[in-house]
């Protein structure tokens, strides 16, 4: 059986490469199909990777309590009418909740940072000493501020890696004074490098101040959120409990709706999955369409091939080929075209993925590549079968006489 297999393979290769242009045009649909499915896979893998790292920055075990929902279709004025978060809630939540491991208020605004003659605009954050427990990043140098520094309103700051690079380069940043909106702050720590969030903006350009100093210098009443860390295996219970605690703090009656929102990374995930579904759906649709068109093209060309080689089929039958052997030969030819088409599509997708990789990290998934080759060979079997079957059933006498 092996010699027949190799014989058929040889015939197929000769047939495919004897008519390169014809084979290429025939295979175009399959090439596009494999190209689109593998490229889509590459994109999704890249998105996944960047999403995963961004999500780990947010932390799965953190509840974000604030006025607005992350992804909601609520009217802005409805949100605007909700009461603000207050820093007093921090202690109230700690007293009332048994799940809250750490509670940290966060205020945020834009500010201008300067050191010597260097200046940059960035986001500054005011928070308390438990902030580090609610983010997944560590301190690479120095330390975070303490509870007493927060209460005293000490002018100390922890800066992001980007600021350190920009202001100090290889110099020692700890103990230096930088200016935040022209107010001097002493650098006491540097955060580890984090990269870009969802590939959009860098989170390394930030400065973190104690909330006491932040409020005194910048604003008492700004936008604030609370980050509540809860045990990873008690997310659902924590969510319920914090919601109850917030209602209690706000003094809501059972009939009243929540006038606050509790967000978690899940909200990002469901949003992200929608996006992924859209990309995936479009990709699969294009793939399916081009594979069907490609399959019809292959079937058509195989009918022509069988017609052209009727006499050859007659000769082969006369010298002892069975119907099954003829069937196998033409099926193999269709599969061979599709196999090379798959390889070509994969090659193009790989080339394009290298380009995409310049913009955001992504790789061509190996399993999907192998799978797409199998799919294209399967299309070869499907579309080659009827022509091959027709060839196998040809009458040897008529075929030998065919001109």
């Amino acid at each position: 059986m092996f010699s027949l297999f190799f014989e058929n393979l040889k015939i197929s290769l000769i047939a495919v490469f004897a008519n390169k242009i014809k084979s290429l045009l025939t295979a175009l649909g399959i090439i596009i199909g494999v190209f689109s499915v593998t490229l889509m896979g590459t994109l999704i893998s890249g998105l996944d990777r960047s999403f995963e790292s961004s999500m780990s920055w947010l932390g799965k075990d953190i509840l974000y309590v604030s006025r607005y929902e992350w992804f909601s279709d609520m009217e802005w004025w409805e949100v605007k009418n909700r009461p603000r978060m207050r820093s007093e809630y921090v202690n109230q939540i700690k007293n009332l909740s048994k799940y809250a491991l750490a509670v940290s208020p966060v205020m945020q605004r834009g500010a201008s940072l300067s050191f010597d003659d260097k200046e940059t605009r960035t986001e500054i954050f005011g928070t308390n000493e438990e902030y580090m427990e609610t983010i997944s990043t560590d301190i690479q140098q120095g330390r975070f501020f303490s509870q007493s520094e927060d209460r005293n309103g000490s002018r100390v700051t922890v800066i992001g890696d980007g600021i350190k690079e920009a202001f100090f380069g290889f110099e020692e940043p700890i103990g230096k004074y930088i200016k935040i909106d022209n107010v001097k702050f002493r650098v006491i720590g540097v955060l580890e490098k984090q990269g870009k969030f969802l590939g959009l903006f860098s989170v390394d350009n930030q400065a973190i101040l104690p909330l006491g100093a932040y409020k005194r210098i910048f604003s008492k009443r700004g936008w604030m959120r609370l980050s509540v860390k809860i045990p990873e295996d008690k997310i659902e219970e924590g969510l319920d409990e914090i919601s109850g605690v917030m209602r209690q703090i706000r003094g809501l009656k059972p009939s009243q709706k929540n006038d606050f929102a509790i967000n978690q990374t899940k909200a990002f995930e469901s949003q992200y999955n929608k996006l992924k579904l859209a990309i995936g759906g479009t990709g699969y649709f294009i793939t399916l369409l081009s594979l069907i068109v490609g399959g019809i093209g292959i079937m058509n060309i195989m009918f022509v091939t069988v017609k052209e080689r009727t006499r050859e089929i007659g000769v082969r039958k006369a010298i002892g080929a069975t119907n099954g052997m003829i069937l196998g030969q033409f099926l193999m030819e269709a599969v061979t075209i599709c196999f090379f088409a798959g390889i070509a599509g994969l090659g193009f997708a790989y080339a394009v993925s290298l380009v995409i990789n310049q913009f955001f990290p992504s790789t061509l998934p190996l399993a999907l590549s192998v799978f797409s080759i199998f799919i294209s060979m399967f299309v070869g079997v499907l579309s080659g079968f009827i022509p091959a079957y027709k060839a196998s059933k040809l009458d040897p006498i008529d075929s030998l006489r065919y001109e």
């Binding site: 059986m1 010699s3 082969r316």
Partner: protein, 228 residues
């Protein structure tokens, strides 16, 4: 020893509601190492007879035994197998595969017989040597003369060591010189023990054989040895 036995073979076609008897009760017996010609004008049933003997066609009725195997009850794949093992075809138009070398053309019947690559190459080379084409093995058909192509076809017919060689107008597409060279090869093959059946309408060619069977309207009208 009897090789082929045809007993009251009929081949009846229905053409536009009319019954056409291509073979109309043929009886024929062919022995081992015979050299036989089948002759007749066109429409006499000559081609049908050849297809029947060559196991390309099945009779409408009658008994056909080939070395004791009952051909008239065989299905497609059994027919393919007996063609592969016992019959070597030589056609008027050579019917070589144009994109394959002489060696590969000769090798194909062995592929279908499921013989290993090294053995195949050895057998195919020997067959080509035996027809005098040892220096043309890697040429394609379009690089060979008509006579050489027919010799490749004979090598292909021989390579499986078949029980009969069935040649249909083997010199029909050749000039007379190449034609006679081909006939000499058949003579040699016969002398070395092969059974050869020629289908022809040329008396010159039929004279090479030892027995001539004449057909007319699907019936055997004469069956006699050639006087030499």
């Amino acid at each position: 020893m009897e090789l082929i036995s045809l007993k009251s073979i009929y081949k009846i076609y229905n053409v536009g509601g009319e019954e056409v008897r291509a073979l109309d009760g043929v009886d024929l017996s062919i022995n081992n190492n015979e050299y036989l010609s089948i002759m007749g004008p066109s429409g006499s049933g000559k081609s049908t007879m050849m297809n029947m003997i060559g196991c390309l066609d099945s009779p409408s009725s009658g008994l056909y035994e080939f070395e004791g195997e009952k051909v008239h009850i065989m299905d497609d794949s059994q027919l393919a197998s007996i063609r592969n093992r016992k019959i070597g075809f030589v056609f008027q138009t050579f019917n070589l595969l144009p994109k394959a070398s002489a060696l590969h053309n000769v090798e194909i019947p062995l592929v279908y017989a499921n013989i290993k690559k090294e053995k195949r190459l050895e057998m195919a080379s020997n067959a080509l040597i035996s027809v005098g084409l040892e220096d043309r093995m890697h040429h394609r058909p379009n690089e060979l003369s008509g006579g050489q192509r027919q010799r490749v076809a004979i090598a292909r017919a021989l390579v499986n060591e078949p029980s009969i060689i069935l040649a249909d107008e083997p010199t029909g597409n050749l000039d007379s010189k190449s034609g006679h060279e081909i006939m000499k090869i058949f003579d040699e093959l016969h002398r070395s023990g092969n059974t050869i059946i020629l289908v022809t309408h040329e008396d010159d060619i039929a004279k090479y054989s030892n027995r001539i069977v004449r057909l007319l309207d699907g019936k055997v009208v004469s069956d006699e040895p050639v006087k030499k």
